[in-house]
């Protein structure tokens, strides 16, 4: 399973990937992107099975990345891992077709409980 993890913080990408491994997804093949625009390029090229994205990023935000994908007919499953998880952001994420939004800080248990239902 190919997954793109997009976050402008290198250390946060490392933490997301480490937590995915701790949650049992150590078989995922993960590609990193440092902002929304880079993620869009990588998603178009490698056609991943799943995208996990931060919300606030330079060049292109996570929500704009999701909108861009859907606008070009790309229905890759998409979810957010963000430092803010306000009800407004959750509503907007859902409206644009995101599967879920995990707010930082998170644990491996939260990742597992949230992601597992979509894997099966």
């Amino acid at each position: 399973m190919k997954v793109v993890v997009a976050d402008d913080s290198r250390v946060m990408r490392q933490i997301v990937i480490r937590t995915l491994r701790q949650a049992g997804y150590d078989w995922w093949e993960i590609e990193e992107a440092e902002d929304g625009a880079a993620a869009l390029t990588k998603i178009r090229a490698s056609q991943p099975d799943f995208v996990l994205s931060d919300w606030n990023m330079p060049e292109m935000s996570g929500i704009d990345l999701l909108k861009s994908l859907r606008r070009e007919g790309n229905e890759t499953p998409f979810a957010f891992v963000t430092s803010e998880g306000s009800p407004e952001m959750r509503a907007q994420a859902e409206k644009e077709g995101a599967l879920f939004l995990i707010a930082k800080p998170f644990t491996a248990d939260v990742f597992r409980e949230t992601i597992d239902p979509f894997i099966s």
């Binding site: 913080s9 250390v11 946060m12 480490r18 803010e84 707010a103 800080p105 644990t107």
Partner: protein, 165 residues
């Protein structure tokens, strides 16, 4: 600020602070209460959190030891580098950037249902001049929690969390 903000911004508990660091660093972190405070004059990384109107509502202060040790531990940088920083008092760019990322996520400790929405606005490096509206809150005696965080494999550092009132 949302219209339903009916409660003041909470001062996080020691448990919440410890959990935040433990979760992000991926290693055991212990909390010990302390009677002193982190004073920016001694050198501290300061995260200033503002509400939706740009008013400073909370601060998180980490001394140089915590900046070096947590900023190294989160990226698995060598512990010896952190010790060098503490010895010479000069935080590296990577340690500072990494701690700033922790302080960004730390904003979640202040955001509760019915409390005003606040977020990290600026992170000040040790010995950087603090603006007056930040500096005035650093040493207030109330509405705060102060402690020592001990990071497994890296050692301890001091933290103060202050909520403006």
């Amino acid at each position: 600020m949302s219209a339903d903000a009916t409660r003041p911004t909470p001062v996080p508990s020691a448990f919440e602070v410890r959990e935040l660091f433990e979760g992000l660093l991926g290693r055991t972190v212990e909390w010990t209460a302390m009677s002193g405070v982190v004073d920016p004059i001694d050198g501290a990384t300061v995260g200033a959190y503002t509400n939706d109107f740009g008013v400073v509502k909370a601060l998180v202060l980490c001394d140089i030891a915590l900046t070096a040790r947590a900023g190294s531990a989160i990226a698995l940088l060598p512990q010896m580098g952190a010790e060098d920083t503490i010895k010479n008092g000069l935080v590296t760019a990577a340690q500072f950037d990494n701690l700033a990322e922790i302080l960004n996520v730390a904003g979640s400790m202040f955001n509760r249902p019915n409390a005003p929405h606040i977020r990290l606005d600026t992170t000040y490096a040790p010995r950087e001049t603090l603006p007056a509206d930040v500096a005035k809150w650093t040493l207030v005696p109330a509405s705060r929690i102060d402690g020592v965080l001990t990071i497994q494999g890296y050692g301890e550092g001091r933290i103060s969390v202050v909520v403006a009132y």
